[in-house]
Symmetry: C2
Subunit: 613 residues, 2 copies
């Protein structure tokens, strides 16, 4: 098993371009906006443990701890980049409250203490261990960012309690968490500050899962929370997508930490199943809102896609972990698809509003189909929200974007891998790597390696790329352009052809038969009705001509496109069914915008997949 070392965001700076702008917006707008929404909704106040039955305050939810934890994690990443007294003071205040309200034996959970006291560890589906996992991740991030260990030490007490309760005493009413997260958090803590306890507890939860498929309490279907069979036997992705990919991330960590080839094989198969059979072209996963879940292979409905923002983040987390133990470009390809599409679509252009679900089609008319009954089905919402009742996605976005540079580079004994293309400066063990590029505005990437004589530079050749150039001799190894680094100051120029192209889905994807999507480099495009007089359902894409590239005017950070098409003129006098249909069409030019930017101009129809002419 390979063992690469991913360079942490602490070692890699994004120095410009698309993602520097996104990180600036994240710091200046989104992180404060999420903080404000969480203050308004009582999520911060809940840490005072003052809520009482019948009080004016909103009742804390059992996953609120995790919302604030992910926000703190985001704040920690920003504190590592630049000091901010007010930000740090707020984090410290929350840590004060956690310390103050942690029970003497180390237990900490707001809901289970103030709303439903005495219910500790009784219900698998009540997110106690999930919340602990996020608090632990936040504590690790804060420790790494600031060197302060108070938060991590405090959470250690809870980890110790969980170890006693689940591993030693087995006194909880369930054996493994209903919502995975604690596993990967424990491995992360172990990497930051090795304590065997972390690793043992994580290993325990991973090994235990699926060995007693009786889900206790809640509505946890064993398949829903991946508790149906032991994880080493799991080869098909099932159930709640976020839970699944958090588990698979933990499994990849397990494989890395324990050098477990069997676990790696399971992870490979699960990754294959997700990305070859159950993933949208945007990287979205979750074909149904029922259980926010995976369904069957190739079942990828567009308008009713669930494709939660958190699920895309979770899949990127899984992919990034797989890169470490199984270096292959297809993992980094998936991460790239996520960051430019399925993840980024969860955030509005102004940085203040969010999507929980990211459908690939909006047809406003279709939502009126069940007007005559009261049990109308559920459709994804079409307008971005400032906060959600279950507001897991916004702080997941802020922490992901703030720490994005951590997925760009990893190093092996001899190899330096460049997975993601953005202006970067990275330092590690006497080696300095700088990347200059306007990617994905254009495809030119210049890499300079200082102090790398004798190493190999491995630059990902993106799976979407049909033509590229490189100024130095190279081989291609598992999807990486592999260059020898002959001296201690070497520059490499690679050019990826970003000509837009039409994408076809596997013929087994029934929803996309006869349709195309448009991609330019890593960016998937969509059509919005606000840009055309035509009904998107009657647009037929002319795939003979490559869409025209329109330089960005500052709106999106990447170009827009214009596609040749024809539009069918509906004929109300024609029969509904005919052996001799006379279809009249008019030529049209259809503007396309990046999918990540859909629904920023009001409520309007949208399509990623367009019917071919």
């Amino acid at each position: 098993m390979e063992h690469l070392q991913p360079l942490s965001y602490l070692n890699v700076d994004i120095t410009g371009g698309f993602w520097a702008a996104a990180q600036k917006r994240n710091r200046d707008v989104t992180i404060p906006a999420v903080r404000d929404r969480f203050e308004e909704t009582g999520r911060f106040k809940a840490f005072d443990f003052t809520w009482k039955e019948g009080a004016d305050e909103p009742e804390p939810h059992f996953f609120w701890d995790s919302d604030v934890a992910k926000w703190i994690e985001s704040a920690a990443y920003e504190l590592a980049k630049a000091p901010d007294e007010a930000l740090q003071a707020l984090v410290e205040r929350v840590i004060d409250r956690i310390e103050a309200h942690m029970e003497p034996d180390g237990y900490f959970n707001i809901w289970h203490t103030v709303v439903q006291p005495g219910s500790r560890f009784q219900n698998q589906d009540r997110h106690e261990l999930y919340c602990l996992g996020h608090l632990l991740e936040a504590a690790v991030a804060y420790y790494e960012a600031t060197g302060r260990d108070r938060f991590l030490n405090t959470m250690d007490r809870y980890v110790e309690l969980v170890y006693r309760t689940f591993v030693e005493e087995k006194s909880a009413a369930f054996d493994v968490p209903g919502h995975e997260e604690i596993e990967l958090a424990l491995y992360r803590a172990w990497r930051a500050r090795p304590r065997e306890l972390y690793k043992e507890l994580a290993n325990y939860f991973i090994d235990k899962r699926g060995t007693d498929p009786k889900a206790l309490g809640g509505w946890c279907h064993p398949l829903y929370c991946q508790n149906h069979i032991p994880v080493r036997s799991q080869r098909e992705a099932v159930g709640h997508c976020v839970r699944a990919c958090y588990l698979y991330s933990g499994m990849a960590d397990y494989a890395a930490v324990n050098g477990d080839e069997e676990m790696l094989a399971a992870c490979r198969d699960l990754f294959e199943d997700v990305t070859r059979r159950k993933m949208y072209v945007t990287g979205g996963i979750g074909s149904t809102h029922r259980g926010e879940a995976f369904t069957i292979p190739y079942d990828l409905p567009n308008a009713s896609a669930y494709t939660e923002t958190c699920a895309s983040i979770a899949l990127a987390m899984f992919a990034n972990r797989m890169l470490v133990i199984d270096p292959d470009s297809r993992y980094a390809d998936v991460t790239e698809t996520e960051i430019y599409n399925g993840i980024l679509s969860g955030l509005s252009l102004d940085g203040e509003a969010f999507f929980y679900e990211n459908p690939l089609e909006i047809d406003l008319q279709m939502r009126k189909r069940d007007v005559s009954t009261t049990d109308a089905p559920r459709w994804p919402i079409t307008q971005r929200q400032k906060c959600f009742w279950c507001s897991c996605c916004p702080p997941n976005l802020t922490r992901f974007i703030a720490s994005l540079s951590g997925c760009a580079i990893s190093v092996g004994e001899k190899d330096v891998y460049l997975h993601q293309f953005m202006p970067l400066r990275a330092e590690t063990d006497g080696l300095t790597l700088t990347v200059e590029t306007n990617y994905p505005v254009d495809g030119d990437v210049r890499v300079r390696v200082l102090g790398g004589a004798g190493k190999r530079l491995k630059v990902r050749l993106p799976g979407w790329c049909r033509h590229y150039t490189a100024d130095r001799a190279h081989t291609v190894d598992r999807g990486y352009l592999t260059f020898d680094v002959p001296g201690d100051d070497c520059a490499f120029e690679i050019g990826f052809d970003l000509t837009p192209c039409f994408i076809t889905a596997d013929p087994r994807v029934a929803e996309d038969v006869g349709k195309v999507a448009v991609r330019r480099g890593p960016v998937v495009y969509c059509a919005e009705a606000v840009d055309t007089d035509a009904s998107l359902a009657l647009v037929r894409a002319d795939t003979a001509e490559t869409p025209r590239v329109i330089p960005d005017d500052g709106t999106y950070g990447v170009p827009t496109l214009v596609m040749k098409a024809c539009v069918i003129a509906p004929d109300d006098d024609a029969p509904l069914y005919s052996a001799d249909p006379a279809v009249r069409t008019t030529p049209a030019e259809l503007p396309l915008i990046p999918y990540f930017a859909f629904a920023n101009r009001g409520e309007t129809d949208m399509r990623v997949w367009l019917t071919k002419a």
Copy 2:
């Protein structure tokens, strides 16, 4: 307004061919089978009014009266054709019970008397007037078939009570029935035995509907039961499809009986809306199981189609009524589509099992999509049932098939219309019409008119027909080949070309974009997975070649077809999305069977709409 006289089934005999066989099966197998199921399930026993809370017997449902009523109506049609002492004795026994248990003031309803006494006329959605309507139709049929008026006289007492309660005293808790049916039944009674009371009450319910859209009791959404606006203003078909088309049938009767042009205009628009925008190629209506309802125009999903057998019957009833007041072949076209497809598909080939829903696609794999949750969505069942909890469809089929010849011919002052093609012998007012044909096995139709000198013979030119021949001079008037009848013994030979053809849906039907259906004459075909090794989802129809006709071996009564196709070879190593897909196909021959015969060979995938190559 035209006023044709439809010839009743009493005046028209089916003398052979496809429908004589269907009627024989109906009489010998289906009517006895429905009787047996209704006896087993307590539906006949319920008329004894002996049910008691906690009894062993099943609790009567509030629509059971109507189930037995439709069965009696079927029996009456058979009694008119041939005496059957046992059959008549059973009918008489039910009439005895109705007479015995009718309340002194004329009220009769099993559920409201034995299960929930004291609940009379309190809940719009509890089918009291719907049950009365079906009992009244049965009483009329029995009266016309046997000359016995006891049943009709008995039901008259109930009609009088309803008139007093709803029209005079207005003492019911609602103003119009939640499930329409009584309106058309009253007009039918009025035609059989003119009493002004029938007409006035029917007119009252039609006029009243939608004037107070507050639906009382039940879960009756005003749109669900067409109670949202006055019927003359209704221009879009909404809500529960059977209710809607029973109402529209009553509205057409209203227009005919009262000579009301405004009502006719509403009926025309509603018929247009249903058949041009909301009807499947099989004649099925009801795009969603939610409310068993119409949805929005062109929303015609195939696998989740509701398309209840009763709804197809109801639409044929509406179409047949429109023919009388607006003679145009498009109405008879819809009736024909229904009788060979959407209605007949509700009955198994052996005549003993039924479909309530008639989907246009079965994908067994797809039904496993929501395996990880307990709130999986509802799919149409895939195996024919002997009886249903709500078993409205089986006796609706038996009465429809038994009286089918009533939709074949109508006469005007000068015109004799032949709407449906089957071997027939009809007599009316000194005129005898005989039809000889193997239709729809072949398209040759020989019509002989005796005693018709000076009349015009109008033979429908089916909307699906692209080529025809006729041996006499004619004009075409509103879809009818119009021949002068020059003498008192004239024969006419017409030949319709039944070459199979590929049908395309209006481009606004999103589900059918890029797909074709196959029709031969009036019969729509489907592919069943049991006939091929290929997955139907990967079959691509070759539309360049006309499907081959395979003579019937006695299984279906019409030929089967074999279609040229290719089958895509799935490639598990290919990426899920690709700009350069390499799709390999193999040529194939795909057998097609009549849609009406689907699901007679076990549970198997099925498709009406096939993707074009």
